[in-house]
Subunit: 253 residues, 2 copies
Amino acid sequence: MPSPPLIGVIGGMGPYAGLHLTRKIFEHTRAQADQEHLPVALLSLPNLPDRTAYLLGQDPVNPAGVLADVAARLDDLGAAVAGMACNTAHAPAIFDAIVDRLHRTGRSIRLLHLIEETARHTRTLLGAGARVGVLATLGTYRFRLYQEALQAAGLVPVVPDEPLQEPLVHRSIYDPQYGIKARSHPVSPMARQGLLSAIAHLQQHGARAIILGCTELPLAFPEPEVQGLPLIDPSDVLARALIRATCPERLRE
Amino acid sequence: MPSPPLIGVIGGMGPYAGLHLTRKIFEHTRAQADQEHLPVALLSLPNLPDRTAYLLGQDPVNPAGVLADVAARLDDLGAAVAGMACNTAHAPAIFDAIVDRLHRTGRSIRLLHLIEETARHTRTLLGAGARVGVLATLGTYRFRLYQEALQAAGLVPVVPDEPLQEPLVHRSIYDPQYGIKARSHPVSPMARQGLLSAIAHLQQHGARAIILGCTELPLAFPEPEVQGLPLIDPSDVLARALIRATCPERLRE
């Protein structure tokens, strides 16, 4: 059997998010032996300009330039498709500029869209018109990345009210004492409790599933559901989309 | 500051061993922010001929050819050094042939040696003449990969007697019912018990530390020591050697 096309992973935002997406590709592959796994290249390059700083106007340089260069290196390696392990990099101002640059330079590598894939998957899971909760960083929240994509897919996004978003969600991720970025093995009870309160709040507002819209959040929730609500890890969805794009017959049921 | 040179990881043998080595590089890097991590490229290509089958004479094709091609692709990407996440690929008949081929084709990428780095590290840890236990697959055991390297480093290797190696160690890794390759989340009590018995046996024969000489074994032993004996994960040693070779000032204490 000829080797399936190479899957590219653009990592480094942060490094563990790139590893997490790569692991998900292996976990969702139907393979009885090492030789049945799919070819994957992970480029974890840390010198990527901060995505949030650009979107907030604090840094004039669009990270799209460097990200398109990474995608071009994956294209040189022979990758047919690639995924980026970072929610914020999927803001239209960045993502569309990457795709435009790859197109203009004649690159054939296809970049899948983490957030649009997640919205489509959620629509299939819950059906049109369903209310879907989103936990994310303040950047992803304010730039409305999940809100827009869910609406475009015919769903109703439910996010925490602004006064709750910062203390319950953002701080559970970023607090230097108890946040997941500072303490992840194990996640602190305070971070998990903040997120559980946010989930209860979203459930009260009718959410029927929760999207873990920040790559740190799955560390706090290894379980598939909480309080009866399914948890959706966008890395699972993107990993499956990457396998489907290159070797659908190896996709695990 | 200019970006440090790229670190290459040759994965796919199996895919999770490549991920494990990549994670160790991140864990051993002193980094307060994503941008302070080191650039790493992981190539996880599954179409690598079986290393053990070649060494046993069951397959005439030396996997060195394909492995040298993977190293050349990492060289094209700009990697200065690379590590292979597989013990058996470090048998002289394979490793030396890769290095020879890279040399003949004018490649400058430097391939570090998992087993020699581990022997040197163990010598520093325990001092000359110390007795060191080794747990490994039957292939690594019979090809004497650790035994030779430890002796060359001035240490005394201690391996299980042949009648114990197969039931206690090899089967704990490979048994289709309870082996680590079949059940790793969590590792079965039977696999762990077999390995603990092997460690007790090595301790009775004077071992002062245990080398986990198969990439599956660290899954059974997340703890740093067992029965008072330090456990040495060669992936930790190789990750540190890769950082030292490219950016020693970022090596975590």
